[in-house]
């Protein structure tokens, strides 16, 4: 799979220095799209759905000239991908998301990812919505055609805090999903796999297409600390003395098992699971979004 040249080399650490989410999102997405246009292997979905009469302002590239040749009238080809859908980003804003070992925290990465996804969705003329949750608090922006700026604004001002059990907020959010949607759940999923799976299952109603982005920092995937030290839980404040180099191996194994379980359970629900670490460029996530959008075929 080829990535957009511009997006590939946009290190998330570099992106955080840009500061402006919209700019970040635009840079990443436009670069991604540009790369897609040049790729022979993949492109926007162009499956023909129906014709409709040309109206001023329509993209003349979509005029079906064969029909014009037969009828002398201008008709626009309407593709399946042109159907707009609801796209909601559910972002974990708990305190654990504030961890970062490489200059970019998970929340900053998740925030950029959410912005890029929202921008991309908006560009595809989907209705963009946003939900931020921590503890039982949920900040929700319902999907809408002109909600991008609001979503970006909320993303920009959000601060990670508090704990994050997934079930309560996801249950609450699921009640607000009126239409079949594409949902991007961005979280570090620090919950027992069965509990997390039960929470994610709340989103399955109405045939929603869910992509779970499991975001982690390299420093927590491989416990990167040596020597005797005291670890403090960012969410609960609890402390635990450990000797780093004596538990690396077992910790990494536990993390890998957890990720594997999350993947298995997520896939078992028919959802997509993407493991991301904050060192990876964002275009990989965008591909996943596109794939999910491909599955959302709506023929009017």
């Amino acid at each position: 799979m080829k990535t957009a040249p511009g997006a590939r080399f946009l290190d998330p650490v570099v992106l955080t220095r840009i500061g402006n989410l919209e700019l970040i999102a635009r840079s990443v997405v436009e670069g991604f799209i540009s790369g897609l246009h040049h790729s022979p292997a993949f492109g926007l979905s162009s499956d023909f759905a129906e014709h409709r009469a040309y109206m001023p302002g329509d993209d003349i590239r979509h005029i079906d000239w064969r029909v014009y040749g037969r009828t002398d009238r201008h008709y626009i080809r309407q593709f399946e991908a042109d159907t707009n859908t609801d796209f909601t980003v559910i972002l974990d804003a708990s305190a654990s998301m504030s961890f970062g070992s490489r200059g970019v925290t998970k929340f900053d990465y998740a925030r950029m990812l959410a912005a890029c996804l929202a921008y991309f969705a908006n560009r595809q003329r989907d209705r963009v919505g946003l939900a931020l949750f921590s503890n039982d608090d949920v900040v929700r922006i319902p999907p809408g055609a002109r909600r991008l700026d609001l979503a970006l604004h909320e993303l920009d001002r959000a601060k990670p805090a508090g704990g994050a059990a997934l079930l309560p907020p996801l249950r609450k959010l699921s009640q607000h999903l009126r239409r079949r949607s594409i949902i991007a759940l961005i979280s570090d999923l620090y919950e027992a796999p069965e509990e997390a799976s039960r929470a994610i299952a709340q989103l399955r109603q109405r045939g929603n297409d869910v992509v779970v982005f499991h975001v982690l920092d390299p420093g927590e995937i491989e416990f990167a600390y040596d020597g005797a030290l005291t670890i403090e839980d960012l969410e609960t404040g609890e402390t635990l003395p450990v000797v780093g180099d004596t538990l690396k191996e077992e910790y990494a194994q536990l993390m890998a098992e957890h990720a594997a379980q999350m993947r298995r359970r997520t896939l078992a629900h028919g959802f997509d699971y993407v493991s991301l670490d904050t060192s990876k460029p964002l275009d990989h996530a965008l591909f996943k979004y596109l794939a999910a959008r491909e599955r959302m075929r709506t023929v009017r």
Binding site: D188, G227, L229, I231, T246, E250
Partner: protein, 593 residues
Amino acid sequence: MSLLAPLFMLGLLAIVVPILVHLVHRERKEPLPFPSLMFLRRVPIRSTRRQRIRHWLLFLMRVIALILLAFAFARPWMKSPKRVAATAGKDVVVLVDRSYSMSARGVWAKAQRAALDAIASAGVNDRVTVIGFGERAELLARAEDTRKQAVMSVERLRPGSEVTRYAPALRLASSVLTHASTPAEIFWITDRQRSGWRNAEQMEVPPGTVTRVVDVRAPTLNNVRVAEARMVEDRPSARIINGTMTARDVTAELRINGRLQQARNVSVAANGAAAVTFDPIPNGVGSCEIKLTTNDDLAADNVAYFAATGDGALVVRVVTPDQQAAFFFQRALAAGDSALRVSYDSRLSEADREFVRNGGGVIVLASRSRVVERATAPASVQVTDVRHPLFAAFSAEGGDPFAGAHVLRYSRLSDDSVNVLARMDDGAPALTERRLGAGRILSLAMPLDRSAGDLVLQPGFVPLVQQMVQYASSGSRSQREFMVGSFVDLGEGITQLTHPGVFRSKSNFVVANVDPAEADYTAADVSAFEQAIIPRSVPGAAAGATASDPVADATADPAKQSIWWYLLASAFALLAAETLLGKRISSRMARTA
């Protein structure tokens, strides 16, 4: 390798410290924020407690540095290869007597042959030490030297002008054998003069050490010597002592400043003495010598040097309250044929004191009528310092002219500001010396008569009186006459008088004569040499044990200890490198954290 301070090896226990440091990690002060303890709690406790050493290079550097420090402070000492290789051999010490009596006819050649034979008798692995001795002992060839060097040291050796003293040679031999554990062999190459043993000296040697006395003394010593050469008023005089069994006719030559001036033919009876007096010479002529021309076995004492500087009349004043007390004194003086002039006063006057200040000598005898002490029992008298010049002539008899004397009555002499030369049994001064200006006053506490005791009847009385007069008069001679071996200051630094003769500086001169005590050729018994050594006690070691004394061995040769310096330097270099490496690791860990 041995250790001089093995207890410092306990410092190796400090190796526990870096082990603990590397296992017991230093905890970060600040808690590290982490997303969740979810997985950390699930890691088994045994894993968190299992420790392993990190940074092996740093750990090894610290351990090695501690080991080097412990060894450095323990002062390792390497045995010399020669000694290690030669442990099978024994120590052979050859003591060669080079006093002037060894220059007697035929004696020195015999002594050299004997010394060379002793060296040749040593085994291939034996260590030979050669010591030459007279009044002092000198190491001529060390045990580490080659056999050839030992032989050459004997071949180059010549008899000196010193008297015989066995104690210094024995002390030096004992120190040579300090770190020897195997039985040694000591060869005495000597003429066995009894005068060489002052006291019953004894030295420790390794157990099983054998003493071999090679007697090289002449069967008889036909010796004629000159003694007591001095100016008597304006006339040079001396005594000629004939130690042979036959009467001798000798020629005595007077030389002034090295030039022959006068000669006298003197006949001396067998085992007798005769005085020789020359014609008057001007006062202050300088150095004089009286030399005998005779054919005897020992030429070293055939010449005597003295100073004719006109420093003062050689007169001694005897202060005695009554003439009868002076009777025995006068008789004793006359019996000795002394060349000194003695005057008698009834009391110590201011004129006498002035006489003493100018270098004269006064002898004060006790008055019978002024005796205040009565001994409850006959008291004996002991010399306090046998090395005092007054008693030099008595050295052969153990330095005690009062031997056998008993005192019944005596005067109480003050011992304030005086040198007490002899004391009674109860500690009361018997003979005192008081310096006054350039001269001295000798005071005798016992009246010289039969009522005070039997001192006047003892054999030592006559020589005591003569020596008292000689000594009292010596102050007037402004110290120009010394014995060989003395150290003097001629105004150009301290000079040792190493041989008989005249020693000059720009402004001064002194003369040196051989010690007349060496003329006593009485032989010491061989047993005296055997009894002089006692086996060193070695706890738990049998004879022939090879245990050595590393402390003495190493301290005898500081070069063998130098390894500690290199160990210390290496330890410090390693610690410096460890510091740099530790800082680098710490900063790297900080960046990672």
